[in-house]
């Protein structure tokens, strides 16, 4: 393809750069607002730099400011306990990811590397579950979790996603199918059982896709709102996304605590941004492949 910078290519580059700026601007605005003084914010709505740069909003969000200080800065004064929510999000996302990826890998192994009657039919059934819209299963699942007495518990939030998702199985099965059989057969001749093959050959050889899936699962789980909203309302298990919703509804109606809200969103988004920066290449490359989602 041509590489010279013709006028049309310059225009195209300009379009792409505008789109990238459009993508990045809200992140900057979140940052700019979070470092602003809330009481001064309304006076300088279009200042591109933080207004009266301060860490006040972060202090409020992280519970380092007293109630009086918070109220003086336009906060609600209600106690926000972001460390707790951060911990809860970490617990939920970590346990969900580890369990889901591991159990899905086991299932994918059975679907990709083992031969048994009815296998393809069972797999088709698992895949069909991708079609069922979440809301449809969410209502009965809520009843189930409620009847099990697991409302407002980590188990209640984590369980439905911990054992498998059809997508995770589908994703890993694709990779397991591509692994050379000879290695496996050589190991079998050496007397290795399936457990040994699974842990010793399949998993190490699929480290890259497993890591990709784990990262995607972690991000999804971290960002999930609907299910934790239903099942984990109480503070002791409330995750960051739900806490943000609560924080938003508590902020004074007339003059919202925008600096505080943006500091809170930043705190909530930061771990994912860091995760993304660390694995940008892997995540970006996996998007084209994973197609289905």
């Amino acid at each position: 393809m041509r590489k010279a910078l013709t006028p049309s290519r310059a225009v195209a580059w300009a379009c792409l750069i505008v789109l990238m700026l459009l993508t990045l601007f809200p992140f900057y605005w979140m940052l700019r607002t979070a470092f602003s003084d809330n009481t001064q914010l309304a006076g300088h709505p279009s200042s591109l730099l933080p207004v009266e740069t301060t860490l006040g909003a972060f202090k409020r969000v992280l519970g380092l400011a007293t109630v009086e200080e918070a109220q003086a800065q336009g906060g609600s004064g209600a106690s926000v306990n972001f460390w707790l929510y951060l911990r809860n999000s970490l617990v939920v996302s970590t346990v969900t990811t580890v369990c889901q990826v591991f159990f899905s890998a086991m299932a994918a192994y059975a679907f990709a590397r083992l031969r048994w009657p009815g296998r393809d039919k069972v797999f088709a059934l698992f895949l069909a579950a991708l079609m069922v819209p979440p809301i449809f299963t969410t209502l009965p699942n809520f009843v189930l979790i409620k009847n099990l007495g697991l409302l407002n518990s980590f188990a209640g939030i984590i369980l439905p996603g911990a054992l498998m998702t059809p997508f995770a199985i589908f994703f890993l099965r694709q990779f397991f199918l591509g692994i050379n059989r000879e290695l496996e057969e050589a190991a079998m001749i050496d007397g290795a059982g399936h457990r040994k093959i699974f842990f010793g050959i399949i998993i190490p050889m699929s480290a890259a896709p497993i890591a990709t899936l784990a990262i995607l699962t972690y991000i999804n789980s971290w960002n999930d709102y609907f299910w934790p909203l239903l099942v984990g309302q109480q503070e002791n298990v409330r995750v960051l996304t739900v806490a943000l919703g609560v924080f938003r509804s508590q902020t004074p109606q007339g003059g919202p605590d925008w600096a505080g809200l943006m500091a809170a969103t930043l705190v909530a988004a930061l771990p994912m941004i860091i995760l993304f920066l660390a694995f940008a290449k892997r995540i970006t490359n996996s998007i084209g492949f994973s197609g289905i989602k």
């Binding site: 990045l24 048994w116 079609m131 209502l139 009965p140 911990a162 498998m164 993304f276 197609g291």
Partner: protein, 310 residues
């Protein structure tokens, strides 16, 4: 899409004894490996699907056991103006969302395809997709604030009156759609980008030899060859956008005056603020049916792809 349904090549079928042993194959081992996933599948997918269907024919307030009431929920739905409003609003959202997002995504994908393979560019474009809906909603809620939001500041600056993005009924849905387009367009663009890379270069070389203009090449070659990917993308995004919830829950809560009470949000309200679980299940059932039809249409359209690149 890379769905492989064929089983891996059968291993050596050397001796009859071995074949005999393989008839049941690794069934025992497979059962062990599948046990946890199957448990999750049955308990949290299959069973709730069946139970959801059953609940849609019941009166159920969560406090007493569900009571079968036949088609009453469905009859009620037909007469429920909120339900119809929710459907209309949802469709409006889906149309705006899908239309704009697809065009933008194809545009971005084309730009990237012709200009750069840079991972950084792709990563920047993808970034919003990795941020929680709730976070995205809050940031835009702030940026679109009527009085002090930066967007209205910019509008005033160029001489346009400020817009009450979330406060005016006819702006609310396009606004929510716009926010979600911002979050998803990069993801969709990457899917299209992957599709573009699968088009063999000889097709373009041939077009160039024939003196096809850039514009002609796009309409006559790129777009038709992209069709399978586009259909897949359209359906995935459509199924997703029928289920918009988070953004609305955080910003408008269905308002102003029902303008953003989409079907998902209405189901949520019925079930969890009014404990009208049977009715909510019936509406979820209808949503399910709509999405099933959309998926079936997709399969039809996907089948047609075989004629494109023979």
């Amino acid at each position: 899409m890379t769905v492989t349904t064929s089983s891996p090549a059968s291993a050596a079928t050397s001796t009859p004894a071995r074949r005999q042993r393989q008839k049941l194959g690794d069934l025992k081992v497979a059962m062990i490996f599948l046990a946890p996933a199957t448990l999750g599948f049955v308990v949290f997918y299959i069973w709730p699907t069946l139970r959801g269907a059953y609940l849609s024919f019941t009166e159920y307030s969560l406090l007493q056991p569900p009571e079968f009431n036949g088609l009453q929920n469905y009859e009620r739905m037909v007469q429920d103006s909120f339900f119809w409003n929710a459907l209309v609003v949802t469709v409006e959202y889906v149309v705006i969302n899908i239309g704009l997002q697809t065009v933008l995504a194809v545009f971005i994908a084309m730009l990237m395809y012709r200009l750069t393979k840079s991972i950084t560019v792709r990563a920047v474009i993808l970034l919003p997709y990795l941020i929680a809906n709730v976070v995205v909603a809050l940031v835009w809620y702030w940026m679109l604030d009527f009085q002090v939001g930066i967007v209205n500041q910019a509008l005033t600056w160029v001489g346009i009156d400020p817009i009450a993005f979330f406060g005016e009924s006819h702006w609310a849905i396009p606004t929510v759609a716009g926010i979600n387009i911002w979050r998803h367009m990069g993801y969709t663009a990457l899917l299209v980008f992957a599709g573009l890379q699968m088009i063999p270069s000889y097709v373009y070389e041939a077009a160039e030899v024939d003196g096809s203009s850039e514009w002609q090449t796009f309409w006559r070659i790129t777009l038709p060859l992209l069709r399978p990917v586009l259909v897949m993308v359209l359906v995935v995004t459509m199924i997703g956008s029928f289920q918009v919830f988070d953004t609305i829950a955080v910003t408008t809560q269905g308002g102003p005056i029902n303008a953003t009470r989409v079907i998902y949000f209405y189901i949520y309200e019925r079930a969890f603020t009014r404990f009208d679980f049977g009715y909510a299940s019936a509406m979820a059932m209808v949503l399910f049916a709509i999405l099933a039809v959309v998926s079936l249409l997709q399969l039809r359209l996907l089948r047609a792809k075989e004629s494109d690149l023979a």
